[in-house]
C-alpha cells in the first residue's frame, strides 16, 4: 500500500483528520487512566481481611437504662449466644475489621518514646477470638481464659501481653524475632508479644489507615461498656437462621437493650459490601464511562469516514475504472484510518502520561504503568479499524461506472 497518496488526500481534510486524531488521543488518555483507577480500586476492595468472613456475623448491642456493672450482663450474653443452634463460637469486642470505627494508637519499642515506631489498631480479645474469627497463629500462642481481665470504658489499656499481626511484627522487629519481645502500648508499661497471627486487617478501609491497614494488636481485655459488638462464628448454611434466632435469644434473656434495626445484625459479607461501597461504585462508574467513551469515539469515526466515502465516490469510481480492486479500496480506507489512529495514539500517550502526572499531585494517585498505555493504544487502533471497516466496505462496493457520472 502506498502511503504518500493517502497523506496527500488527508492534507485536503485537515480539520476532519485532526478531529479524529484528537478524539482518539483524548479517549486514549482518559481510558488509560480510568482503567488504571479501576484496577487500583479493585485491588483495594479485594484485599483480604484475614478473617473467615463467610461464617461470621456481627451483632451490635447497646444497653438501655442500666448503669454500672456490665460485666455479668456481657458474660451472660456470650453464654446465651454460644448456645444458639448453629453458632460455633462467639466473643465480644470493641471493633472488627472493615467496620470503619475503632481505636488506633502508636506503638513504641522504648518507654515514653518520642514518636511511635508503628501505628496499630487495637482489638479487645479473649481466648475465643482467634477460633471465632478463624485467624491463624503463625507463632506463639493464644490468650488463656484466665488471662482476660475487665477494662472499664474509656480507660487506657496497659496489657501485660498482646498478640499482633505478622505485618506489625515485621514493622516492629524487622528480623522476624518479635515473639517474646516487648512493645509499649501504654507509654510506660511494656507488653510482651505472646503470639503472631498471619493477617488481621484494621477496621478502616480509607486513606486514614492506608499506611497501617494490616497492623493490628489484640489485647486481652473485656471492654466493659454499654455498647458492644458480638462476633459469632456460624455453621455453614446456618447464617440466615442465626441472623433471626440470635437477636431473639438476646432479647429473651434481657429486654433492656437496643439492637439497631438497620445495621444491628450484619453478616460480614454485608459489612464488606458497605465498607467498599464507594470504591465499587467508583469502579463501576469508571467502567461505564470507559465503554461510553469508546462507543462515542467509534461512532465519530464511522460518521466522519462515511462522509469521506460519500464525498469521494467519484474518485473511488475512477480508481476502480483504472484497475484498482475492491481490496485496494478497502485497504486504502483502513490504512488511512491506521495513519490517523497512530497520530492520535502518539498524542494520546503523551496526554495519558501528562494526565496521570497531574492526578498524582492532585488525587494521591500512583504512577501509571506503561502497560496500560500500550494496551490502551492497541485497543484504540483496533477500535478505529473496526469502526472504519463498515464505511470502507461500502467504499469498496462503489462500482467503476461511478467515474462516468457527474454526481
Amino acid at each position: 500500500m502506498q502511503i504518500s497518496p493517502i497523506l496527500s488526500a488527508l492534507r485536503h481534510h485537515k480539520a476532519g483528520t485532526a478531529l479524529i486524531a484528537m478524539q482518539i488521543a483524548l479517549t486514549l488518555a482518559i481510558v488509560c487512566n480510568t482503567l488504571f483507577i479501576i484496577q487500583q480500586r479493585v485491588a483495594h476492595l479485594s484485599r483480604p481481611s484475614g478473617i473467615d468472613e463467610a461464617h461470621l456475623l456481627r451483632i451490635q448491642n447497646q444497653w438501655v437504662g442500666q448503669h454500672g456493672d456490665y460485666a455479668p450482663l456481657l458474660a451472660a450474653d456470650l453464654a446465651t449466644l454460644r448456645h444458639v443452634p448453629g453458632v460455633v463460637d462467639a466473643y465480644a469486642t470493641n471493633s472488627v475489621p472493615l467496620s470503619g470505627g475503632g481505636w488506633s494508637t502508636g506503638l513504641g519499642l522504648k518507654p515514653s518514646q518520642n514518636g511511635p515506631t508503628a501505628m496499630t489498631a487495637i482489638y479487645f480479645a479473649d481466648d475465643h477470638t482467634l477460633p471465632t474469627l478463624g485467624v491463624k497463629l503463625v507463632a506463639g500462642r493464644n490468650f488463656r481464659a484466665d488471662e482476660i481481665s475487665d477494662m472499664p470504658a474509656l480507660s487506657k489499656p496497659t496489657p501485660p501481653f498482646v498478640i499482633i499481626t505478622r505485618a506489625l511484627a515485621s514493622k516492629l522487629y524487622p528480623h522476624g524475632d518479635a515473639l517474646g519481645k516487648s512493645v509499649y502500648v501504654a507509654p510506660d508499661k511494656p507488653s510482651t508479644i505472646i503470639g503472631v497471627v498471619r493477617r488481621l486487617q484494621a477496621p478502616w478501609t480509607g486513606n486514614f489507615a492506608a499506611s497501617f491497614s494490616d497492623n493490628s494488636t489484640l489485647v486481652p481485655f473485656r471492654l466493659i461498656t454499654n455498647g458492644t459488638n458480638f462476633v459469632l462464628r456460624v455453621r455453614t448454611g446456618q447464617m440466615g437462621n442465626v441472623m433471626r434466632t440470635a437477636p431473639k435469644a438476646l432479647y429473651a434473656a434481657n429486654r433492656m437493650r437496643v439492637i439497631p434495626d438497620d445495621d444491628g445484625v450484619m453478616p460480614f459479607s454485608a459489612i464488606r459490601a458497605k465498607a467498599y461501597a464507594s470504591d465499587r461504585g467508583m469502579a463501576i462508574l469508571m467502567a461505564v464511562i470507559c465503554v461510553m467513551l469508546l462507543a462515542i469515539t467509534a461512532a465519530g469515526i464511522v460518521g466522519l469516514t462515511s462522509f469521506w466515502v460519500g464525498q469521494r465516490r467519484k474518485q473511488i469510481g475512477v480508481r476502480r475504472a483504472l484497475g484498482a480492486t475492491r481490496g485496494d479500496i478497502l485497504s486504502y480506507f483502513l490504512t488511512e484510518n491506521l495513519l490517523i489512529g497512530m497520530g492520535g495514539v502518539l498524542l494520546g500517550i503523551a496526554l495519558a502520561i501528562g494526565l496521570n502526572l497531574w492526578m498524582v499531585t492532585r488525587f494521591e494517585m500512583q504512577h501509571l504503568s506503561l502497560w496500560y498505555v500500550l494496551a490502551g493504544a492497541v485497543a484504540l487502533l483496533l477500535l478505529g479499524q473496526g469502526a472504519v471497516f463498515a464505511p470502507a466496505l461500502r467504499a469498496s462496493r462503489v462500482p467503476p461506472v461511478e467515474a462516468t457520472r457527474s454526481v
Partner: protein, 432 residues
C-alpha cells in the same frame, strides 16, 4: 430571520436522522455526566449557613506534649475540656459554644415504641443562636441552665414527630438514659450541609435528634460520639483534663477587627498556659472562618472531584466528536449552501444559519442531558454514602445545564460553520 433559520435547521436535522441522533446523544451523555457530578459537587461544597458563615470561626489551640512535635505542624482539630471551658468562661467572643457529639437511649413513655438510641449534641446554649437554628416550639435553655446540670432537652423536628406526632411537646417529660428530662424546645427542620460544626461524626451526617446541656450530659456519663485524641498520661477515663482533645468550640465574631483581636487573645492564652507549665509547646493557634475550616478539612470527598474531572473530560470528547460530525454534515450540504450564497445570502447569514442548527442540536442535547442528569442523580441517591440523599438538582443547576449544553454546542459548531461558509459558492454549484 431566526425563525426561518430554525425551520431550516429542523429540516436539515430531519434529513439525516442517524447523524442527528448521534450528535444529540453525544451532547446529552456529556452534559448528563457533567451536570450530575457538578450538582453533587455544588451540593457538597455549599455554604451551610450563607447568612452567617462569614462571622463564625473555629479556634484551634495546641496543648499537646512534645512527643512527635515538628515545626509548622497544624494544631489539633478539636479542643480539650480544659481549654474549651477556659475559652467559654473568658467569653471574649460575641457568642461562643462548646460542644461534643453523643448518643442517648430514648425510652418513650408509650410502650408502642421500643427504646432506641439517638444521636445527640451536648452543647452550651449559644449553639442555637449562633447557628441560627430555627425553633418550631419553645426556645433554647438559658444561661443559668448551662451551669447547673439542668435536665432539659431540645428535640429535633424528626424526633418530635416520631415521639409526639409533631404536636407541641414543650413542657413534657422525656426519659433518656434512665433519667427524666423536660422538653424546652422543638426545632424546625434544620440540616446544615456539610455538618460543619462537628466533622468527626461525619462530614454530611444528619443533624442530631436531641440537644442537651453539655454539663448535664457529661456528668451523667452519656455515651460519646466522635473522635478523641489523647497523649502523655491522658486517659480516656477522665475526660475533664487538658490531655485529650475531643470537643468543638465555635465562636461568633461580628467584625474582622474582633476576629484579629480574638486571635491575639488565643495567642496570649497559649503563652499564659505555657508560662503556667500547662502547655509544653510554643503558642500555635489558628482561627479559621467556617468556609476556611471546611476547605482545610477537605470535607468534599476527593472522589467527587475525580468524578467531575472525568465527566468534564468525557464532555470534551463528546464535543470533539460533535465537531467532527457537524463538520461532515455541514460540508455535505455545501451544494445547498452554495445555492443560498449564489442567491444573495451573505457569509454572515449562512454562518448564523449553521449556528442556529448547532444551537438546536445543543438544546435538544440539553434536554436529553437534563433527563440523564436526573437519572444520574437518582442513581447517586441510591448510593449508601451519607451525602447521597442531598443530591438534588436545584434551579440554578437546571439553568446551568441548558446554558452549558447550548454554549458548548455553539462552540463546537463554530469551526464547522466557518469551514462551510468560507467555501466559494461557484465550485459548489458546479459540483451540484
Amino acid at each position: 430571520m431566526f425563525g426561518y433559520y430554525f425551520e431550516l435547521a429542523l429540516c436539515s436535522l430531519k434529513r439525516n436522522k442517524v447523524l442527528t441522533a448521534l450528535m444529540v446523544l453525544a451532547i446529552a451523555l456529556g452534559i448528563g455526566a457533567s451536570m450530575t457530578t457538578l450538582t453533587v459537587l455544588h451540593v457538597l461544597s455549599g455554604d451551610p449557613l450563607p447568612d452567617k458563615s462569614a462571622k463564625l470561626y473555629y479556634p484551634q489551640l495546641d496543648p499537646r506534649d512534645l512527643s512527635g512535635m515538628h515545626p509548622g505542624a497544624e494544631p489539633p482539630n478539636q479542643v480539650s475540656w480544659m481549654d474549651g471551658m477556659n475559652l467559654l468562661k473568658a467569653g471574649r467572643a460575641d457568642r461562643q459554644a462548646l460542644m461534643t457529639g453523643g448518643a442517648v437511649a430514648i425510652q418513650p413513655a408509650e410502650s408502642a415504641i421500643d427504646p432506641f438510641f439517638e444521636d445527640a449534641r451536648f452543647t452550651t446554649r449559644d449553639f442555637f443562636s449562633m447557628f441560627d437554628v430555627p425553633f418550631q416550639y419553645g426556645h433554647a435553655w438559658g444561661k443559668a441552665e448551662d451551669d447547673n446540670d439542668a435536665r432539659l432537652v431540645v428535640l429535633s423536628q424528626r424526633i418530635n414527630d416520631k415521639l409526639f406526632g409533631g404536636v407541641d411537646s414543650t413542657g413534657k417529660t422525656l426519659r433518656m438514659g434512665g433519667k427524666d428530662f423536660r422538653i424546652v424546645g422543638v426545632l424546625d427542620s434544620w440540616r446544615p450541609t456539610p455538618h460543619f460544626y462537628d466533622l468527626t461524626t461525619g462530614n454530611y451526617s444528619e443533624s442530631e435528634g436531641v440537644y442537651l446541656p453539655l454539663l448535664t450530659a457529661i456528668d451523667l456519663k452519656f455515651p460519646f460520639n466522635g473522635s478523641r485524641d489523647c497523649w502523655g498520661n491522658g486517659t480516656n477515663a477522665d475526660m475533664k483534663t487538658g490531655l485529650c482533645t475531643w470537643m468543638q468550640f465555635w465562636v461568633q465574631l461580628d467584625t474582622p477587627a474582633k476576629a484579629s483581636a480574638y486571635k491575639q487573645f488565643l495567642i496570649n492564652y497559649s503563652s499564659q498556659q505555657k508560662s503556667l507549665g500547662v502547655y509544653q509547646r510554643e503558642p500555635n493557634v489558628r482561627l479559621r472562618g467556617l468556609m476556611q475550616w471546611l476547605d482545610y478539612s477537605k470535607v468534599v470527598p476527593s472522589d467527587v472531584h475525580l468524578q467531575l474531572w472525568l465527566a468534564l473530560g468525557f464532555l470534551v470528547v463528546c464535543l470533539v466528536n460533535t465537531v467532527g460530525l457537524m463538520l461532515a454534515k455541514f460540508l455535505r450540504r455545501s451544494g445547498e449552501l452554495g445555492v443560498r450564497r449564489a442567491l444573495g445570502a451573505s457569509r454572515g447569514s449562512v454562518f448564523a444559519q449553521l449556528l442556529v442548527e448547532a444551537g438546536t442540536v445543543g438544546l435538544v442535547g440539553g434536554i436529553g442531558g437534563l433527563l440523564l442528569a436526573v437519572l444520574g442523580l437518582w442513581f447517586v441517591r441510591m448510593q449508601p454514602s451519607d451525602y447521597a440523599a442531598l443530591a438534588h438538582l436545584d434551579l440554578p443547576m437546571l439553568a446551568a445545564t441548558f446554558f452549558l449544553a447550548v454554549s458548548a454546542t455553539l462552540v463546537a459548531g463554530l469551526l464547522p460553520a466557518w469551514r462551510a461558509c468560507v467555501l466559494a459558492p461557484a465550485p459548489q454549484l458546479k459540483a451540484a
